[in-house]
Each structure stands twice: as structure tokens, then as C-alpha cells.
Symmetry: none
Subunit: 194 residues, 4 copies
DNA sequence: GATGAATGAGGTTTCATTCAT
DNA sequence: AATGAATGAAACCTCATTCAT
């Protein structure tokens, strides 16, 4: 079973995760204290330690929610022919994964220095690298590689840096995806087949 | 002889800034303690407080180094005709500004959550917004606006996320700029003159 | 067996209050550090913060012990006819209240500048004012009003400035009360009934 | 000469005293830092140390201003016959001394705990005791002694606790003196001549 | 499934003071 | 007559964590 302790796992665990993510996202990981989390939940700090071994553990548990879908996406991409259609479908699926875990993602984006030193840092970095490797062609030009990297980062940045663009969220999200798809297409076009 | 008045008038202030930036960059703002900074300089913590009113003040003083050039760039752009050539020159100059303050910029990029809650947050945000406003045409399509924003963020991300691209730094920097210029050109092209 | 629920449920909170009052009284509020309090109790400073939110909070908790009885006294006086007998009974009861919280009162008397800037300052001031207002007749002469004020302050000063008067404490206390009663009687006598 | 350093002593010294007294009086001795004093004078902290050896020294120099007149008063009283007229004249002169050094006096009154531990503490205490000894008759009743003490403290308290009595300052001051004179007269009256 | 009580380490900041210039 | 630079000590306070109950 996926639930280690109890068939019907206490919902406190999930409430802790929710509040923690909210606060981490709002003020950053370091500035969010376990006291704050506990207070907002109206439990004691000690209660948090019943559900999680450490503060970092709360974050790890959150990151796992993002890791799964991305791993699936990578596995899928590896099973496909390495062509433009696959790459673009990757971006589409990545867009879904990101928007399904938007608050966590915002947190990662805004707390890179912290995340880097935590155990989830390596795990995130390796997944982004994996995606990047699959988007770019090994021997393409530097600017083609930059285009692929930019496609990825445009999607990351697009999740929270579009406040000063008018338009409804879905429209913006679509536009971001379109730009990313475009960048990858341009990168691909510049590669001389051979 | 080079310094006319005081032969060896304290360079401690600058040394504090240097070490602070180095450590902030390395471990993040919150995880860098004043004790660490002081120890590495072999002065007491109190000495830091002689030169800076608070920890945040050290950061503010560093940020001012970036703000100046960017403000000049904005002022210049405002004095120019609002056309593609101007926008592209803006990006070239922005690239210079960023690379001249690369460590500080890396710090800001990796500590957004922290910076947001500090006094420099607003100052940075408003400058990035200003640049963004000048790049995009008011009534262009959402995807054109996303392209402009992406141009900016590509430059930001490009400063530290290009480790897994081979090529010498200058070449990579040029490639990033090229991609950014391209994005702005594409955004401009999509606007029907009116 | 005396304490039904927790056989030895922490009396630390009360011990902190006791030690704090002792030290505040001895060296003043500002010169008493939390380290001293903690050391004398053989706990860590952090333990103090488990029981009290701030240093000031310790003092506030102490002041509450005095506020209660005085409030009762004021409430009682308000329910009585405003005549000399009531006023004199007020002074008697006030004397009791003061002597029941003598160390705290001594502290307040000797740390007025400190207390004034703390949250308890206003609370004390308003109670003393209330007492004063009830003692004096609204339109009596200035010297009658001074007599009432002096009655109050004689009781305050009497708590710690009688070392160079011989006699046992109870006798001195009685004498102070007598003088205060007298002063109020004189103030009352000077008012022409109208 | 009374001026140790220079015939025409710098006025900075006096300005330091003035500002220090003002701040000590306003926030208390411990809460007033040398930095504050220096900043308000627009000099550096080091400048204060040119004029005074320590922080306490500033206070001592201020207290000397009060000590002189009071010593004169005590000396005068010792040269007079010990009777009611002398005692009452003492109070009149003491009233003058107090009002001439009102801010310092307010400070002492409100910072007793601090003052007690400083070098000026003993000096003040001994003078107040001396005054008290001269007012009261050695073998009078406890309540007569309390009346004398109260006369003294009424004058002290009267300097700053009369805000809620209407009337112009001089009128209030006169009333306070009147009450004090009365108290001493009553004390005297109760002594059976022996 | 959680609490109450506490700790040890460390944080930022302030202070009175010194001393060469 | 005063400054600039620095120090050592100590202040208040917060944090993640532990553990018996």
C-alpha cells in the first residue's frame, strides 16, 4: 500500500503540507518557521514532528508530488522517437505538470539558493537537466541550445511573471506554451540534418 | 599616492561588501550570518555595524551598484524613438549591465523570495517592469508580450543556467543576446502597424 | 495529591515571576537580564520564552497581580456615596492592596521612567488617576487637591522610605495610613458644602 | 578656578549636559545611549569622551548642580536654632532648590533604581536623610515622623504629579509648599515639650 | 495522535568604551 | 577639540529539535 501508517491516513498530514507550502511560497523556506505553521494549524510544533521527521522533510514530501509526473514525462519521452513532434509534446505535458503544482513550483523558482543546499536540490536539477538534454540536439549550435534552454525557462518564468500582461490566465498559459514550442522549433530548424 | 587624502583610509566598507556578496551568493542571504562575514574579514561583528546600519543595509548598498546602470539605461531608452532598433540596443546594454554585476544578479535570481520581502524587492521589480514596458507594444497580442518578457528572462536565466551548454562564456553570452534580440524582433513583427 | 491533575505540573512559570520580581526590584528592570533570571532558576533563557513572549511580558504578568485588587477597590468606591467615610475606607483598602504587593510596588516606584514607556505604564497611571479623582472634590481649592494627591503619594513613599524611622513595620504602616486619612479629612473640611 | 581645562570653557560641555539631561529625563538613564546624545548634538560619541570620562560622569556633573544649593541649605539650617520657623524656612528654600533644578529632579525621582546603584545615589540619599533628620524631632511619635517625611515627599512628588490638577504652576507650587509647611507644623504640635 | 516543557545553538543588534590621528 | 574606526561584552529573541507523557 502507498499509505505506510494507516489505511485511512490522518488528514493532518495533508493539512500540514498545505499550510507549509502556502507559507514557504509566501515568505520563503527559511523565513517560515515551524511555529508559524503550527500556529496557523492550531496544533503544537511537536505535532509536526509526529508527521514529519524534520522541517526539510515537509519540503521533500511536497517535492515528491512534482517529481512523479515529471518522471513519467521523462520516461515517456525516452520511449518515443527523438523528433520535433516528441519534443513539442514534451513541452505540452510539462506545461500540465507545472500548472498542476504551481505553488510548489513558484516556491522552487523563488528559493533556488535554499533549494540548492537541500536534498531536493539535486533531484530537481537532474530532472531539469534531463528535460533539457532531451530537447536539444547534441551537436547543435550554441544558440540552438540556448533556445531550448530558454523554452524551458520561459515556461518556468511564465508561471508567475505575467502579472503585467493583460489577458485571462488560460490565454497567457497558452501563449507561453506557444512561444516555447516556437523556440524549440527554431532550434530544430537550425540543425542541418546529417 | 593614488588616494590623496588618507593614504590608507579604510577600505573595510568595500571589503565587507565584497565578502558579503560572495557569501550571500554562495549560501543565500538568510543562511549567511554576520558572524561569518565578520570572521572571514577578521573583524568583529560590531565593526560591520559601524559601516552598515543593518544586515539588510549591506544588501541595499550592493543593489545600488546595479540600480545605477539600469536607471541610466532606462533613461536613455526613454529619450529614444520607440522602435525595434532602440529595443534591441536596450537589450545589448542590459546585457552589459547584467554581466558587470553578475554575482549580485545571480544572488537576486536565486533569492527572489528573500529579496521580495526586503526593501530592494520593490526597487528591482519596478525596474524590470519598466524595461518590460518599453520592450512590448501596448496593444500587441498576448504572445507578443510573452515573447518580450521571455527575452528579458532568457537573459536573466542565461547568466547561471548555461553550465550544461558547452562553449566559451563570451560565445554563450552572445548566443543568449541573439536569442533575446530575436524574440523581440518576432514580437515586433507580429504587430500590425496602425 | 494536593494537585489533582498533574502531580508536579510545572511551577516554572510562577518561579520565573518570583525570581524576576526579586531581581527587577533589586537592580531595576533594564539592568536585570534574562540571562540572570534564567541562571538563578537553572533553566535556559529559551525556557523563559516558552512561558513568556517577551521580557516585558513577565513584567506585565506581575503587574496584573496588582491591577486586580485595585480595580476591585475602584469598583467598590464607585458604588458608594461620595463622602469622607468612603474616601477613608478607600485609603484603608488601598493600603492593604499595596502591602500585599509590596515588592512589585517598590519596583514600580523606583523604576518610573522605565515603567512609563512600557505597556503597564498607562495602566498604572490610569488607576492612580482614578483613585485621585475619587478622593478630591471637583471644585475644591488647589491646596485641597494637593492634599489628596499627597495622601496617595504618602502611601506610596511610605512603603520604602521609612527606614530611618524607628518603630515596627506595622506601627509605621498604621502611622502612614493615619497621616493619609488626616490629609483627606483636611481637604474635605476646606470644602464649603454647596 | 572652578574650570579645570580652560578659563573660557567650551560650550560643548554644557550642551552635552543639557541634551543628556533632557534625554535622561525623557527616557531614563539606561535607555538613553551615548549615540543618541551624540546624534542630537551632531558630534561623534568620541567627542563626549573628550569632555566626560564615562556616561556616569555626565550624570555626576549634572547632580553637582543640585548638590551645591542643597548643601548650602543644610549648612544654613545647621546654623539656626532648631525650631518650627527654621524648619519652615528650610522647606521654602528647598522648594526653590528643587524648582531651579526641576528636570534633574524629575530624573532622580523617576530613576531611583538606577540612581541607587550609581555613585550619585549615596550622595542624594544622604542629603535627603539630612533634611529629614533636621525636620523631625528625635523622640517624636511615629506619626509625627511620618508627617515630616511626607512633607518632603510631597514636595518631590508635587513637581511632576500635578498635571491633573488645574491651576497655574506657581499657584500649584505654592499650594504644595503650604501643605508641606502644614505637615511639619502638625508634627511639631504633637511633640510635648520636654 | 498529539502536547507541554525545555534545550542548545545561534541570530541580529546595541552599548559603553578606546585610541591613533 | 574632536573624529573615524573598531572592539568586547552582552542584550533580547528565535529556531529546529527532543522527549516523557
Amino acid at each position: 500500500m502507498a499509505t505506510p501508517h494507516h489505511p485511512r491516513r490522518s488528514d493532518t498530514r495533508r493539512r500540514i503540507q498545505d499550510v507549509a507550502l502556502e507559507l514557504f511560497s509566501e515568505h520563503g523556506y527559511e523565513k517560515t518557521s515551524l511555529r508559524e505553521i503550527a500556529e496557523r494549524l492550531d496544533v503544537t510544533k511537536a505535532a509536526l514532528y509526529y508527521h514529519f521527521k524534520t522541517k526539510e522533510d515537509i519540503l521533500v514530501s511536497l517535492a515528491d508530488d512534482l517529481a512523479g509526473p515529471v518522471d513519467e514525462l521523462i520516461a515517456w519521452a525516452e520511449s518515443q522517437p527523438r523528433n520535433l513532434a516528441t519534443k513539442q509534446e514534451m513541452l505540452r505535458r510539462y506545461s500540465d505538470a507545472l500548472w498542476n503544482a504551481a505553488p510548489l513550483f513558484r516556491f522552487i523558482q523563488e528559493n533556488q539558493a535554499t533549494v540548492r543546499d537541500l536534498s531536493i536540490g539535486e533531484s530537481i536539477k537532474s530532472r531539469v537537466n534531463a528535460l533539457n538534454e532531451m530537447l536539444k540536439e547534441p551537436r547543435s549550435s550554441v544558440s540552438a541550445q540556448v533556445r531550448c534552454m530558454t523554452a524551458l525557462f520561459a515556461m518556468h518564468a511564465g508561471m508567475f511573471a505575467t502579472q503585467n500582461i493583460e489577458g485571462d490566465p488560460q490565454e497567457k498559459r497558452a501563449a507561453i506554451l506557444e512561444v516555447a514550442l516556437d523556440l524549440v522549433a527554431q532550434a530544430e530548424a537550425s540543425v542541418v540534418p546529417g
